[in-house]
């Protein structure tokens, strides 16, 4: 025995640090500087001479203060794979209209010629290249009122607008996704968001159906998402475009459509849920049938439930009351129902032993249900004369008002036994410690993980999580209930455990060979 104890201490001392080292967050090496990014190009709006404006995001180091002695080199070509020639250079630290991005206007582009552009910088001697933007053709723009002045910063339009039927819904909704305008940067005081326009025919007028603030919605895919549910009818074709607003300028995206809204019969994002739930339910039903057929099903001892009889007996011997607290939540909480199941058993015992029972509750519906449960229990034992409606009474819905009320009752009436069975929150320790201070025997049961430690510390017995749900099967020993318990264990735990082990192996292998697989595996099991 001593050897076993010594070994367990040694293994703790050895294993815990090892585990800690394994999960310890190591300092990652410094990241490399990223090159200039998201280069895009458009015809300069309102320029009657014709020019092309390009926009890219600044790289770290290109700030008004602390700038390094480096520059951006702007290159141009007439074909994507052709020779790029340098047309300009912009020094880091050179002032610009935006803190996040830079723009350059190429006035030397020949009208009606298509061009490609790229930007290169060498902050630490190594050349870093942007993506290639283009083709864009320089075209003389018509002179629009107020639009001919050379503006400090040109608005680039949102691009790649996609419109599609919102998946997995009951119709009447269309989802739009687009790549945000390069001018749409965080904390931009001048960017005024987007307006969404829609029409129902391919050549009819567009009307505005909504607006959206700037910023990406999906940071992984770098898109803004907007759901149009404004008067959308199923089966009607719609066309959309999105217009960005910036400093008095407006820029339209491409037109997306036709797209029709439809209702879906099945939520594909929950298919995995359905499969796993199906396995669980099939397992439960199978073992219920097995139990009904007479097969003996083993259930381990649960100390808290074994102690119920003893606890009520103690109260009887001492001539004191039994308090039963069925949680602080309403009848829509499954823990409350589980708590009332145990109340039926406790009420049966108090009826048999003629012990006083009090059930103060925090919800009116629980009061009504608990009364039925207790009355029925007393009736079944033939002690309906001993029952009174006042055994179950309402205190208050308020969490701490309820706790204060229970504490007062416990301190004044000093019950010998207190049951806490149901859903509890912060009041759990207040109740349990007060009960402990008067020397009552306390049996708790809850499926609130945060409250379990408090009950374990302050109560004599605690039903942890699913033991609370197993109580009805355990106390009644009814075959169907025992069967469902077995099914839940086999179908649930065994299957999920196997699945977890398989996924852990896949993900561990993927971490070394193909990190992308990890996100694919994760996405497989996402429930939407």
């Amino acid at each position: 025995m001593r050897m076993k104890k010594a070994l367990s201490y040694i293994s703790l001392v050895a294993i815990l640090p090892l585990l800690t080292w394994l999960v310890h967050e190591r300092e990652r090496p410094g990241s490399t500087i990223a090159g200039p990014y998201d280069l895009s190009s458009i015809n300069t709006p309102g320029d009657v001479q014709g020019s092309i404006t390009i926009n890219w995001f600044r790289i770290p180091g290109d700030q008004p203060t602390g700038a390094t002695a480096t520059a951006y080199r702007l290159l141009r070509s007439t074909s994507k794979d052709g020779q790029f020639t340098e047309i300009a250079s912009i020094d880091f630290g050179q002032p610009g209209p935006s803190q996040q991005s830079r723009q350059f206007r190429d006035t030397t582009a020949v009208l009606a010629n298509a061009y490609f552009y790229k930007v290169i910088s060498e902050p630490e001697g190594t050349p870093l290249e942007s993506n290639i933007a283009g083709p864009v053709t320089s075209v003389a723009q018509s002179s629009e009122a107020g639009a001919t002045a050379m503006l400090d910063e040109i608005l680039f339009p949102p691009t790649q607008l996609r419109a599609f039927d919102t998946p997995n819904d009951d119709g009447r909704s269309i989802t739009l996704e687009w790549k945000i305008s390069p001018n749409d940067v965080p904390k931009s005081g001048q960017f005024n968001g987007y307006e969404i326009y829609r029409r129902t025919t391919s050549d009819g007028p567009f009307e505005m159906v909504g607006d959206a603030t700037g910023g990406e919605t999906d940071l992984e895919r770098h898109v803004k998402i907007f759901g149009d549910g404004h008067g959308v009818k199923n089966g009607v074709a719609y066309y959309y475009y999105v217009e960005a607003k910036f400093n008095g300028q407006r820029a339209k995206s491409n037109v997306a459509g036709p797209v029709k809204a439809r209702e879906q019969w099945f939520h594909t994002g929950r298919a995995v849920s359905l499969v796993l739930l199906g396995i669980l339910i099939a397992s439960i039903l199978y073992f219920i049938n097995q139990a009904k057929a007479g097969k003996k099903l083993f259930i381990r001892k649960i100390a808290g439930l074994e102690a119920v009889d003893e606890a009520v007996g103690r109260a009887t011997e001492m001539g004191k009351k039994v308090f039963y607290i069925p949680g602080t939540q309403d009848m829509d909480n499954v823990q409350t129902i589980a708590g009332l199941t145990i109340l039926a058993r406790v009420a049966r015992l108090t009826a048999e032993y003629e012990t006083k029972l009090e059930v103060p509750v925090a919800k009116s519906l629980v009061m009504i249900t608990a009364r039925e449960v207790v009355k029925e229990a007393y009736l079944n034992v033939g002690r309906s004369d001993f029952y009174s409606d006042d055994m179950v009474y309402y205190l208050t819905d308020d969490q701490f008002g309820y706790a204060a009320g229970i504490d007062g009752l416990v301190v004044r009436q000093k019950p010998a036994t207190i049951f806490y069975q149901g859903a509890f929150y912060a009041e759990s320790l207040i109740l349990a410690e007060t009960g402990n201070s008067i020397g009552a025997i306390q049996i708790a049961g809850t499926a609130m993980p945060a409250q379990l430690p408090f009950f374990v510390a302050a109560c004599d017995y605690t039903l942890i999580g699913e033991e609370l749900f197993a109580a009805s099967a355990y106390l009644s020993r009814e075959p169907k209930l025992l069967g469902s318990l077995k099914g839940q264990d086999i179908g649930g735990k065994l299957v999920f455990l196997s699945l977890a082990i398989v996924i852990i192996i896949i993900v561990t292998v993927a971490a070394f060979s193909s990190p992308d697989m990890i996100s694919q595996v994760t996405k497989m099991f996402e429930v939407h």
């Binding site: 965080p186 904390k187 910023g215 999906d218 404004h230 969490q399």
Partner: protein, 304 residues
């Protein structure tokens, strides 16, 4: 010595209460200060609010009552400060009845002009009620913020808001007018029209429900402030990215205050909390010492 340990084992709990009371109260009276390191999860939340563009609309769900005020109220006050400074609009609501009142209390606390009124376009706007002044910024009820009030129904309210905010909150809590009449609600028809959800939660319904019903179903990013007891339950959602930032307990509030540069109640209370933690640890050490010293003696007695 043995006698001392036996006394310690059976010490009256009122002595423990007295020591804790002194540990909590003395630092407050002495105005002691303590430096705090900011944790990753609070930084994520702060950065998420900072990254919101000007004019963004945030849904602030106050799901707590006065019992959790010491932990969550500083987070509410600091959150409102940050959003007002960044010109972010917000709509207040509550899944707990006292939540919206707590939000009013937080706004009243940070407001710097409590009396007086102005008349604008025929409307009389009272400071402290319709106008909240924080530093150089003034926000106006109906245009920059709104209080939708409390709605019974727990997570079903969130579900309802998913298709229509007006269906869940037809009128505002302050004046009882249809919410569509307020400029702030232009374009805010459903939950996914909000740019961010800021949830302050002390239990059920709370952060878990917001993650399950708002984030997972309607893809609205959500950051939360929780009581210290509830925070461990919510950590799994932070790791999976379903929560954008988490402030746990008074320390989370103090870290948030440090990030915003306005140190207030949570920072002050950290000294008391630290002292209390130290004493609890000391009690545990003393209790174990007494346990081991008396246990050995008991065994020897048994043998003899």
């Amino acid at each position: 010595m043995q006698r001392l340990f036996q006394i310690l084992l059976a010490i009256d709990r009122r002595i423990i209460f007295l020591v804790i009371f002194l540990a909590l109260s003395v630092p407050i009276f002495l105005h002691l200060k303590i430096d705090i390191d900011v944790t990753r999860e609070v930084q994520i939340f702060y950065d998420a609010i900072e990254a919101l563009p000007t004019g963004s609309r945030v849904l602030v769900s106050c799901d707590y009552d006065p019992g959790s005020e010491p932990e969550l109220q500083p987070m509410a006050e600091t959150g409102f400060r940050q959003m007002i400074k960044d010109h972010i609009k917000f709509a207040i609501m509550g899944l707990w009845p006292q939540g919206p009142m707590q939000a009013n209390k937080a706004l009243a606390k940070i407001n710097e002009v409590r009396e007086g009124f102005i008349v604008e376009n025929g409307d009389t706007l009272a400071f402290g009620r319709d106008l909240i002044v924080v530093g150089p910024d003034t926000i106006r009820y109906g245009r920059d913020f709104i209080n939708l009030g409390f709605q019974a129904g727990n997570e079903l309210v969130i579900q309802r808001m998913g298709s229509s905010v007006a269906a869940a909150f037809p009128n505002d809590a302050r004046y009882g007018r249809p919410i569509e009449t307020y400029p702030i609600m232009n374009g805010l028809n459903k939950l996914s029209d909000f740019d961010f959800i800021y949830n302050l939660s002390a239990g059920y319904p709370g952060t878990v429900e917001w993650v399950q019903f708002a984030v997972d179903r309607f893809h609205v990013p959500c950051g939360a402030g929780n009581t210290a007891v509830q925070a461990p339950q919510v950590y799994p959602y932070l790791d999976t990215g379903q929560l954008t930032g988490l402030m746990g307990g008074m320390k989370g509030g103090a870290e948030y205050e440090k990030l915003t540069g306005f140190k207030a109640k949570a920072t002050m209370a950290m000294v008391s909390q630290t002292a209390a933690h130290i004493f609890v640890v000391l009690f545990i050490v003393i209790g174990n010492l007494a346990y081991f010293m008396t246990r050995g003696k008991g065994q020897r007695k048994g043998l003899s």
